[in-house]
């Protein structure tokens, strides 16, 4: 019997799945050697058999057993929680795929507000006379969770999205029953720009392009951080460009940290601020520091501001 693979997409954007499809023919080659048992984006396996009898629209989520399960997206409502649990129960090895699943990702920016506040903001527009909130849909959890905050995960594969080749390598390694090698250093490790070890005293917003000669390759460009642009390369797990230049740097644009922290439990906000301060860069010139956690606000790192009284 072929090894079975099961895919689920929770609180994410399907970008991880698109990256997987970007493997092109190589992916079709994989399809030959495994049996896909559940993959809502590509196949019609349902949570329940709709013909099994009268349903009230609720009900259990039934998933097939699989050797390898891949979950992209975080966990943000009751239905996604049910699906995450069902995946854990049915899959021998569970992979959290992409930064939403491993660290909360962009959707966890919502954690700076309460769920109520978000619902109010989102539904305040529309017709004012009927500013009602949806009630008959799966309730939001109090915040957006990474998958490992809710169920045990065996392999965490960050990236927004993860590098296509990396996904295949991990799946192939697991099929060979080896544990995939995911040790990484920071984004800067593979960045070829010129570093002189001396930065600017202040940071500027990315309102004008970096200073570089487009006719020259990237390795002739000065490090963006040293040019006074916020570049999160030093505090972000590397791998987006394989052994080559990180992807955003190829576009001459600074890194924003989409692979999450270098160490899985790290804190990109704290690490970046610490790095700036240690290098004598005025971190106060940064607008909106919380954006440094834009990919890793799960694990309770982003919370609503406390409404404390001004006392002393």
């Amino acid at each position: 019997m072929l090894p079975r693979l099961s895919f689920e997409c929770l609180h994410g954007c399907s970008g991880c799945e698109m990256a997987l499809l970007d493997c092109g023919e190589q992916l079709l080659g994989l399809f030959d050697r495994v049996e896909i048992v559940h993959f809502p984006l590509l196949m019609d396996h349902k949570y329940q058999n709709p013909l099994s009898g009268a349903s009230d629209g609720e009900g259990e989520i039934i998933l097939p057993e699989a050797e390898i399960g891949l979950v992209s997206g975080g966990v943000a409502n009751t239905e996604q929680l049910q699906v995450a649990r069902a995946m854990r129960a049915q899959c021998r090895t569970l992979i959290s795929l992409g930064t939403c699943a491993t660290h909360g990702g962009i959707p966890a920016l919502r954690n700076q507000w309460t769920s109520e506040a978000t619902l109010q903001t989102v539904f305040a527009y529309g017709s004012p006379e009927k500013a009602l909130l949806p009630g008959e849909v799966p309730a939001l959890l109090d915040r957006v969770y990474s998958v490992d905050e809710q169920v045990a995960v065996d392999v965490a594969l960050p990236g927004c999205p993860p590098r296509p080749e990396m996904m295949l390598e991990v799946i192939e390694a697991l099929l060979r029953r080896e544990s995939p090698d995911l040790a990484h250093k920071s984004v800067c490790e593979t960045c070829p720009v010129i570093r002189q070890g001396k930065g600017q005293g202040t940071m500027r917003r990315f309102l004008a392009n970096a200073d570089y000669d487009p006719e020259e390759p990237v390795d002739q460009m000065r490090c963006l951080l040293e040019q006074g642009l916020l570049c999160m390369g030093p505090v972000t797990a590397g791998g987006c460009g394989g052994r080559e230049t990180p992807l955003c740097i190829r576009a001459r644009v600074p890194c924003r940290g989409c692979y999450g922290p270098v160490r899985p439990g790290g804190n990109q906000l704290l690490d970046m601020m610490n790095g700036l301060a240690s290098n004598g860069i005025d971190y106060r010139s940064l607008v909106d520091r919380k954006s440094l956690l834009r990919f890793s606000g799960g694990h309770g790192l982003l919370k609503p501001a406390r409404n404390r009284k001004e006392s002393n």
């Binding site: 092109g24 590509l42 349903s55 903001t121 924003r256």
Partner: protein, 451 residues
């Protein structure tokens, strides 16, 4: 079957988003209601607040990993508006180039990976086979070519702009890097390969797919609505910019700039879905999903764009549009015709890519005007694969977001999709008899909209 009951399709599969369908049957087994509910809410309108506007294009791309370029570029335009930035002509051309290339992979994905299994392997096939994996087994050569072509489109973007999924190269005031002549030449060669494939895909579909589903093309999920899309001043189809054209079901229309959207469109919330519904406020009839007499309902996405435009400015796509119109009229209403229109747009996107890469201004080194962060309001529009996409931002003196309203392509189509599902369910289910193949046909009505 004396009791009323609800049959659910959960989740709707081979679509991009997360949705379920609930079909309500009354005591006599007749469809009394049917709804498509969008069950995920992500709150982008909330969490962009307070952030520097120039960062938003790299955040909102995560609304959708299938069409991240669309959100990226609508956001970039909205930020231009807030900051009063005017990109140099080449900045605009490079943005448009990336946008039309991004349409290419999306259409290949939707037609071949998501929708085609219903047509090629048959709507009544076994679910475990009726998918791309089944297609690989039955038509390995076609499948391999399709996978290669989709990958090629994505690789073109990655090669030129660094990231293809969740792009970063669109920036307030223009683009982050110019195009070198060597890059232009390589991309132009790839574009011709894609154009060839696009012509092949449309021929293939007309010959071996659509011809076998003449009846369904016109009848499955059929409803009568208005349409919304974008055209230039001469009435040509546009994807990157242009005026919005809102067409009534009778074929008459008004054109208006996207910045006037609030005068023409309004949003409505229903308790069974996290997606808001948009309707044509300017028709003055209000909004109703009553299947006998819907009000304010119009459609977006491929079929809508081909209905509202007077013509297409590239030759192959124009010839196909003429053929299409000769067969189905204007406006064409059949819901499954969305697929046909999608492949015509694929041809257009490839032709436009070739055209843009031949424009000598495309390699001009001036691609960005420095922007200045300040208070303002900006409304950015592009035509996404899934329809008219509008990002509307306001900023404070520091250039940080104070308010954001996003109308994404699928939102416009929620109301018509509900009508189509109801129509399909009512015509396919009689006496409470439901089968897997009936349920899949109902899903086919949804898939046509590519939600």
């Amino acid at each position: 079957m004396p009791k009323s009951q609800v049959v659910s399709i959960h989740p709707v599969t081979r679509i991009e988003g997360q949705a379920r369908v609930d079909i309500h049957l009354d005591e006599s087994g007749r469809v009394s209601d049917a709804r498509v509910a969008i069950s995920a809410l992500r709150g982008f309108e909330q969490f962009v607040i307070g952030r520097p506007a120039e960062e938003i294009p790299r955040i909102v791309s995560r609304i959708c990993g299938i069409c991240p370029w669309m959100h990226h570029l609508a956001a970039v335009k909205a930020v231009d508006g807030c900051f009063g930035a005017v990109p140099p002509p080449t900045g605009q051309l490079l943005r448009e180039l990336c946008q039309v290339i991004a349409h290419i992979h999306d259409k290949i994905l939707h037609f071949f990976f998501l929708a085609a299994p219903d047509f090629v392997l048959g709507p009544d096939g076994d679910y475990s086979v009726r998918n791309i994996m089944g297609l690989v087994r039955q038509e390995p050569e076609l499948a391999a070519r399709v996978a290669r072509m989709r990958q090629l489109g994505q690789a073109m973007l990655a090669r030129f702009a660094g990231k293809s999924i969740h792009p970063v190269a669109g920036v307030a005031g223009g683009f982050s890097k110019p195009m070198l002549e060597t890059e232009r030449r390589e991309l132009a060669a790839d574009a011709l390969v894609l154009l060839d494939f696009a012509s092949f895909a449309l021929d293939y579909a007309k010959r071996s797919v659509f011809s076998r589903f003449r009846e369904e093309l016109q009848s499955l999920g059929a409803i009568t609505t208005g349409f919304l899309g974008a055209v230039d001043a001469q009435g040509n189809l546009r994807l990157y910019d242009g005026l919005l054209r809102l067409m009534r079901p009778d074929g008459s229309w008004v054109d208006f700039p996207a910045s006037d959207y609030e005068r023409h469109l309004a949003e409505q919330v229903e308790p069974w879905s996290y997606a808001k519904m948009v309707y044509a406020k300017s028709w003055g009839e209000g909004f109703s999903l009553n299947p006998a007499a819907p009000m304010g309902v119009y459609r977006v996405n491929t079929l809508a764009r081909l209905n509202v435009c007077d013509q297409v400015a590239t030759p192959r796509a124009q010839a196909e549009l003429e053929d299409f119109r000769a067969q189905f009229g204007r406006p064409a209403q059949g819901t499954l015709l969305y697929h046909w229109a999608r492949l015509i747009e694929l041809v257009y996107a490839c032709e436009r890519t070739v055209e843009l890469l031949a424009d000598e201004r495309i390699t001009d080194p001036l691609v960005r005007t420095p922007a200045e962060s300040k208070a303002g309001r900006g409304i950015g529009h592009v035509e996404a694969p899934r329809g008219t996409l509008i990002h509307d931002y306001s900023t404070d003196d520091n250039g940080c977001i104070t308010r954001a309203n996003l109308i994404v392509g699928t939102t416009h189509n929620i109301a018509p999709m509900n009508l189509s599902v109801r129509q399909a369910a009512a015509s396919l289910i009689c006496d409470g008899e439901v089968s897997e193949s009936i349920l899949n046909r109902i899903e086919m009505a949804i898939r046509a909209y590519d939600p």
